[in-house]
Every structure is written in structure tokens, then in C-alpha cells.
């Protein structure tokens, strides 16, 4: 066509992306409600429109694909077909094929250079439209994605040869934000109101000047009126400022589809080069996040997708052999949960093989066999987040390259102030869940004093602020600890941890103090890990705009940003994950202690990680050899597998509680006379009696916990 084709192609790309976005929503809606005729009509129109305009631009592969898709949608519209799972799958594949083609075009591929439409896919779509059974339904894997790469390298340009597929795994966002006009208008309207409020302030200032100029004492009633108006003016102005601030921050919010859309294409490209068949589903891409978060989100998500494609989803043959459909499902889903955004990357692949993880950890000498045995299923799975851990037997193009899951975790935790969790079922798949704050720019901040400085932490890390006498602290091998909410939590003076001059009494001489003033403790956490920090005083709590550190200070791990306090003070925000890391390092040497030659073996059963760890520290400091178990059942298995000289157990635990465990162990010959100590928060006499009835040798209440009691009891029982 003798027109400015390039200009129209650009327009076509924009509109096609728009249509494809709506198609994704439409197909997802159809998946939930197959009789949704309105959705079918919308989908039909999108396919039809793309067909029409692509034909005018001579984008033949797009026209052909859109045509086949339109045929199937037309059959659905006429009721000749119903949107069962197979049809939905075909619709997605048709849409994906269109997205790939439009994507190539968007990446600058010339219209003539587009690969031909996938004939197998078009045939499958049209066959389904004419009511034939899907010729490649279950037995033969659908040739859709792979066929272009493997079946016809001579007949048509292979997608791997096209420019966009050269670098699967690369993604870039440009550095501008598109703001919806109505949002901008809203800010401008608010600005107008702020300005008119300001005029009112001027009026009040003039009024005040008249008071000042007046030598006589001001009239009381006028003064009262003035004060009322001033107060109201300030309050109105404040409300406006808050709203203005919110709206301004909202302008930085972007929908997740900016990251999600390119990702699903990337996933298909990657799947193709790995010879796997994958349907990538995206849900919740309309959820909005702060621009700054969006920028940092794509790298971790790319890695998670790679991981799923590389380790999760099996090759088609393996899937078919396992009784699964040949095409794997990869889901990228987001939803909002209060002030948080949750993002889930899940696959229906092989899941994480725990045995392989253990082997790998042993092989890489990350952990000893004993340490591994002490890990719960979840803790074992989380090994993949350890630096230097990669389960891939072969170094493949994607997951094995350079960065590992540890980097993903670190970037989610450090850069995005979020959290990354993992669940996996062997044979059924793996799911990574990211929990992210909506925005990094504005957060709730707690300001306090420690070591003569005012410091802050962001609220998501704060568990509680409590005041406790130092006599509640317990000495452990690594330092001090206390019991709170039924858990042992390590305690340290923040000033000491940061190496600041200590202003309060140091922890080292805390418990022996005769006069025992309460210590102010800031309990922080990250995931399951908790830490109690001794601070001097609370300053205040409030929502603050967090300012990033200047470039030359960004490498400081302990500080995550700055906030302003009062007029011009700058307060550093402490980065809690880094504090926890430092705490781990300072308490590390305790684990180096060699067990004594004839070490008693003790099994510690408790569902709280902190409690287990601290009891372990205490006992190891006294030369005991400790094995950990995380619930009664786990404890029982371990007790049956090896022999122990004593058992320490909590009462309330999932699966099997401490009473049941004790009773069960007493049935075993090997444990009939073995010391069993119950450590619990249950203070009631009836519980104590029950504990002794089931056969425990001692019953220690956590609230009154003193390491001496524990150690003395053990010593007495072990003789």
C-alpha cells in the first residue's frame, strides 16, 4: 500500500496489544463461565478486527492466525462448540501465537520477515471450529509451539532465527510513566484547592497582623473567632495536603501488565528453546504497584519463570508418561491483600525433589548430614535460596547461568522490602509466592533512640515494642535470649549490634543487676526469624516518605533509606534483614564448639524455629549433642531412627503433641527409661499432672524458664 506503512504498523501494534490484553481477560472469563456469550462476542470482535487491519497492512501470518481463531470463536458464538478445557487451551494458543507475532513486529521485525503462521495450530483451530475432535488432543502432544521450531526449519524461518528470540530472558522498561489524564486532573484540582486554602491563610495572616498592630488588648470574642478560623484553616489544609500527597504517589503506580505481558512471551520463547510445551497464564495484571517496584520486579520474576521452565516443567514425553497433559501450565497471578500485593509464580511440573536437594547440599558441603536431618520439609525446600545452590544437573542456558535463587530472594527481600515463600509438592508442581508492599516511597515508620542516635525501622519488620525487666533474659551460648509468645527470641542491645557507644546498661551485665529497671525492647522479624533489640526510647510512629540514599552511600547494607524528622533532621532507616544477618554472624562462633568426648545426645522437639535454635544453643554450650525435630511425629520418627539419651519436647505442636509423643515413646523399649522433659507454656496444675501421667520425668514451664533449671534437670536425670 502506498501509504506510510510504518506509521500504521505502529498504530496496529498498539491496538493489537490492546486487543490481546482484552483477549487474555476474555478467555480467562470464558474459562470460568463457558456460556458467557458477551465475552465470546468481544473475543470474536477482537480477532476479527485484528484480522481486518492486519490484512490491510499485509501482515499475512497475523491475518491467517487471527482468521483461524475467528473461525473457532464464531463456532462458539453460534453454539456449535462449547468452551471446554481443550477449546480454551486452543484459544490461549491462538492468542499466544498472535502475541508472539505482534511482539516480533514491536521489536522492529519487518512485516515480510515475520514467520509464517503455524499451520498445525491454524488447522487445529479450524478443525475445532468445524466440530471435529481435536486431532491432537491427548495422545499426541499439540504441535503448536514446538512445530515452528522443530518440524519446519526449512519451510519457514525458525523463530529462534528471528531477532526477538535471540536473547530470551532480556527485558527492558523505558523510564517514563504514562499517567491517566483523570489522575493528573485530580491532582491539578487538588492543587487549586490548596492554593485557595493558601489565600485563606494570607487572609488570616493579615488578621493576625492587625492584632499585633493594635496596642489595646484584643477583643476576646474576636480572638476566639480568629483562633477557630485558624484552626479550621490548618485542618482543611492538612486534609488537602494528605490527599494531594496520596494522589501524587498514585501517579507513580503502574499496572503489573507492564511486567507480566512481556514475561508471558518470554516464557514461551524460553519454553521453545528448551523443547518444552507450556501455556503461560497471567491473571491480575491490572493490579497496580509503585513504578519503582515494577522496575525491580522483572528480574526476580524472569528468574522464577526460568526456574519453573528449567527445573519445574518436564519435557512432554515425561509429562505424558506421568499421566499429565503434554503441555505444562505456568501461572503468573497477582492479587491485592490489604496494603500488600501478592504475586504467585506456579507451575504444574515435577515439584522439588527433597532427596535431590539433600544430596546436593551434602555434596556442596553447605550443611552436614546432622544439620540436614534437623531441617523440616519446608526448611529443606528453602535450601534452594542458599547462595551457591543450584539443583540443575546440567548447566543449561537459563537457570544455570550466573545468578541463582539466592539472588532472587535477596532482591525480593532487600530491594523490594518483600518476602519470598515457596511451596512444592513432588509430582504436582512448585509455587513461589512474593509478598510486596504497594509502594516503597511511603511507608509506616517507627522512630526510636539507641546509642545516642535517632534511628528508624519500617513497620513491616516490627512485631512489637515491649518493656521487660532484664531478669527475664536468659544466657545462651551465643548471647542473651528471652521467652516471648512462647518462643525464645535472641536479645541484643541495638547499640552493641551496630557498634555504637552504649548509653544504657550493656546486656552482658544485665541479669545480675539488683535494681532492675525495665528494658525497652523492639522485637523485629523477617519471615520466621525474630530478634529483640534493646533500645533507649521510642520517638514516634507515622507514615513517612522514604528517601533513597545518595549514590555514594547505597552500598551500606544496614541502612535502607532516610526519612526527615521534625524540621531538618535526617534519620537513617535500619534494614532489618541486614541486622538479622549481622546478628547471625556475631553469634556464629558458638556453633564451632567441639562436643565433649562422651556427649549426651538430646532430641529437641518444638514447632517454633526460634525455640528449637535457642534450646540447641543452650544445650550445645553445655556440651550436649543436639538433634532437632519440628513436631511430635517428626520427633517420634527421629527417636525411632536413632537413639537419644534424653528428649525435650514442647506440648502444643501440629500433628502430634508433646503428651502424645511422651506416651508413645514410653511404649518403646528403648525409651522406657529415657529422660523426657516437657517444656511448655501451660502452667496449669492439671497439665503438669497430665505430663507426669503420660510419663514425663520433668515439666518445665517456659515463662519461668531458666537455662540453669533446664541444664540442672538434664544433669540430674542423666546422672
Amino acid at each position: 500500500m502506498a501509504l506510510d506503512i510504518q506509521r500504521f504498523i505502529q498504530r496496529f501494534i498498539e491496538e493489537a496489544l490492546d486487543h490481546l490484553g482484552r483477549m487474555a481477560e476474555g478467555i480467562a472469563a470464558l474459562e470460568r463461565d463457558r456460556a458467557n456469550t458477551e465475552r465470546i462476542n468481544e473475543l470474536f470482535r477482537s480477532a476479527h478486527t485484528m484480522k481486518g487491519s492486519s490484512r490491510m497492512l499485509k501482515l499475512t501470518p497475523i491475518t491467517a492466525t487471527a482468521h483461524s481463531l475467528e473461525e473457532l470463536l464464531s463456532a462458539l458464538r453460534e453454539g456449535q462448540q462449547s468452551a471446554g478445557p481443550e477449546i480454551i487451551g486452543l484459544l490461549y494458543q491462538g492468542m499466544d501465537a498472535l502475541s508472539d507475532l505482534v511482539g516480533l513486529l514491536a521489536d522492529g521485525s519487518a512485516p515480510e520477515a515475520l514467520p509464517a503462521a503455524n499451520p498445525a495450530l491454524c488447522q487445529a483451530l479450524e478443525a475445532a471450529a468445524s466440530g471435529q475432535d481435536n486431532p491432537c488432543a491427548s495422545s499426541t502432544p499439540l504441535p503448536a509451539d514446538v512445530s515452528t521450531a522443530t518440524l519446519s526449519p526449512t519451510a519457514e524461518p525458525s523463530p529462534t532465527a528471528t531477532p526477538a528470540a535471540e536473547e530470551p530472558g532480556e527485558m527492558r522498561l523505558n523510564d517514563s510513566v504514562r499517567v491517566r489524564l483523570e489522575r493528573l486532573d485530580e491532582v491539578i484540582r487538588l492543587m487549586g484547592e490548596v492554593l485557595s486554602g493558601h489565600t485563606h491563610m494570607h487572609h488570616l495572616a493579615g488578621w493576625a497582623r492587625r492584632f499585633a498592630g493594635n496596642t489595646q488588648a484584643p477583643d476576646q470574642s474576636e480572638l476566639a473567632a480568629f483562633s477557630r478560623e485558624l484552626r479550621e484553616g490548618v485542618l482543611t489544609q492538612e486534609a488537602l495536603m494528605v490527599e494531594l500527597h496520596d494522589r501524587a504517589l498514585q501517579m507513580r503506580m503502574l499496572p503489573l501488565n507492564i511486567v507480566f505481558d512481556p514475561l508471558s512471551r518470554l516464557a514461551r520463547d524460553m519454553a521453545r528453546s528448551l523443547g518444552k510445551q507450556v501455556d503461560c497464564r497471567v491473571r491480575g495484571s491490572e493490579i497496580e504497584l509503585d513504578r519503582q517496584m515494577i522496575d525491580h520486579l522483572s528480574d526476580p520474576l524472569v528468574h522464577l519463570l526460568r526456574n519453573a521452565l528449567d527445573h519445574g516443567i518436564e519435557p512432554p514425553e515425561v509429562r505424558l508418561a506421568a499421566g499429565k497433559p503434554a503441555r505444562g501450565q505456568l501461572t503468573l497471578e497477582a492479587w491485592q491483600d490489604g496494603g500488600w500485593v501478592m504475586i504467585e509464580v506456579s507451575d504444574d511440573g515435577a515439584g522439588i525433589a527433597l532427596a535431590a536437594l539433600r544430596e546436593k547440599a551434602l555434596h556442596k558441603q553447605l550443611l552436614s548430614r546432622e544439620q540436614l536431618d534437623a531441617l523440616s520439609e519446608r526448611e529443606t525446600q528453602e535450601l534452594i535460596f542458599r547462595p551457591g545452590f543450584s539443583t540443575s544437573a546440567l548447566i543449561t542456558d537459563f537457570s544455570g547461568r550466573g545468578v541463582g535463587m539466592d539472588v532472587v530472594k535477596r532482591s525480593v527481600v532487600d530491594t523490594l522490602s518483600g518476602d519470598l515463600q515457596l511451596t512444592s509438592r513432588p509430582g504436582q508442581g512448585t509455587c513461589f509466592t512474593l509478598r510486596l508492599p504497594l509502594s516503597l516511597a511511603m511507608m509506616r515508620v517507627l522512630l526510636f533512640q539507641a546509642g545516642g542516635l535517632t534511628l528508624g525501622v519500617t513497620a513491616q519488620y516490627v512485631v512489637e515494642l515491649v518493656e521487660l525487666p532484664a531478669s527475664r533474659f536468659i544466657a545462651t551460648a551465643g548471647g542473651w535470649a528471652l521467652t516471648l509468645y512462647n518462643e525464645f527470641i535472641p536479645v541484643i542491645a541495638l547499640a552493641e549490634l551496630l557498634g555504637l557507644p552504649s548509653t544504657a546498661v550493656a546486656t552482658s551485665d544485665a541479669p545480675s543487676e539488683a535494681r532492675d529497671p525495665g528494658r525497652l525492647l523492639l522485637v523485629v522479624h523477617q519471615g520466621h526469624e525474630k530478634l529483640a533489640l534493646i533500645i533507649d526510647a521510642l520517638v514516634e510512629e507515622g507514615d513517612r516518605v522514604i528517601k533513597p540514599l545518595p549514590k555514594h552511600l547505597r552500598s551500606l547494607p544496614l541502612i535502607s533509606g532516610m526519612v526527615t524528622h521534625q524540621r531538618n533532621d535526617l534519620v537513617s532507616l535500619l534494614h532489618v534483614p541486614a541486622l538479622l544477618e549481622r546478628m547471625r554472624q556475631t553469634s556464629m562462633p558458638s556453633t564451632q564448639k567441639a562436643p565433649s568426648t562422651r556427649a549426651h545426645r538430646v532430641l529437641v522437639v518444638d514447632d517454633s524455629l526460634n525455640t528449637r535454635e535457642i534450646e540447641k544453643d543452650v544445650l550445645e554450650a553445655w556440651g550436649y549433642h543436639v538433634t532437632l525435630a519440628e513436631n511430635g511425629e517428626d520427633g517420634l520418627q527421629k527417636a525411632l531412627a536413632e537413639s537419644f539419651d534424653a528428649i525435650l519436647t514442647d506440648v502444643e505442636m501440629p500433628r502430634m503433641d508433646g503428651f502424645a509423643l511422651t506416651a508413645r515413646l514410653r511404649e518403646e523399649h528403648a525409651y522406657r527409661h529415657c529422660p523426657i522433659i516437657i517444656i511448655t507454656s501451660r502452667e496449669k496444675e492439671t497439665d503438669r499432672r497430665r505430663g507426669l501421667d503420660v510419663g514425663a520425668d520433668a515439666y518445665i514451664v517456659k515463662g519461668s524458664f531458666d537455662q540453669n533449671i533446664l541444664v540442672d534437670t538434664l544433669k540430674a536425670l542423666l546422672g
Binding site: M1, F8, R11, E15, H48, G52, M56
Partner: protein, 118 residues
Amino acid sequence: MRILVVDDDLLAGEMIAAILQEDGHEILLASDAMDAMTQVDHHEDIAVIVSDMHMPLIDGIELYRTLQEQGIHLPFILLTGNAPEFIDAEKIGLTACLMKDADMDVTLRDAISSILNH
């Protein structure tokens, strides 16, 4: 000459307009049949209507018939995306029925110039 282009796909409409504008025609765009009827009522100098076949609610043929019923006998060029439904233009009195494709710059120009030559 003033030409009314009716297409629910704005992009397609603009492309058609671009072809015709190159030849110096003045173009009005309508996004559906209702819009087209309104435009015809408001602009008496419309000389030709170029309309897409497939549009929601009222399609191109319906639009043509409605105009005929109202006594508006303007030259009418119907554009269609699908080959099988190619319509015998002369039989129902259409000026032309064209395939909506990359050759439109030639076929549409021919159709318009044949109208001018009449």
C-alpha cells in the same frame, strides 16, 4: 470530493482515509452505521460512502438498505474482509464490493474514479 468512511475499526478507517486523502478527497469518519446516518443527515455534500461490511449491530448491507429506504441514493462502496461472502454488487445496486486487503489502494482508487467518470 467529500467521502464518508464507515468502519468500526478506527485504524482500518484511518488507513482507508489515508488512501483517499492522497488523491485530494476530504474524508469524514463514522465508527458505526448510526454514526454514519447522522453524518449523512448533517453533511449534504457527502458524495460517496465507503463502508465496512462487518460492524456490530448494523452491518454494511443494512446501512446501505436503510439509506435506500430513506431515499438517499449515494454511490456506496462496500468493503469486506472475508472472501466467501463476496457479494454480487450490481445485483443489489452497490457501486462496488471490494476485498479489504493490501491492494485496496488500487481497487478503491479504481472504484472511486469510476464514480467520478460517471
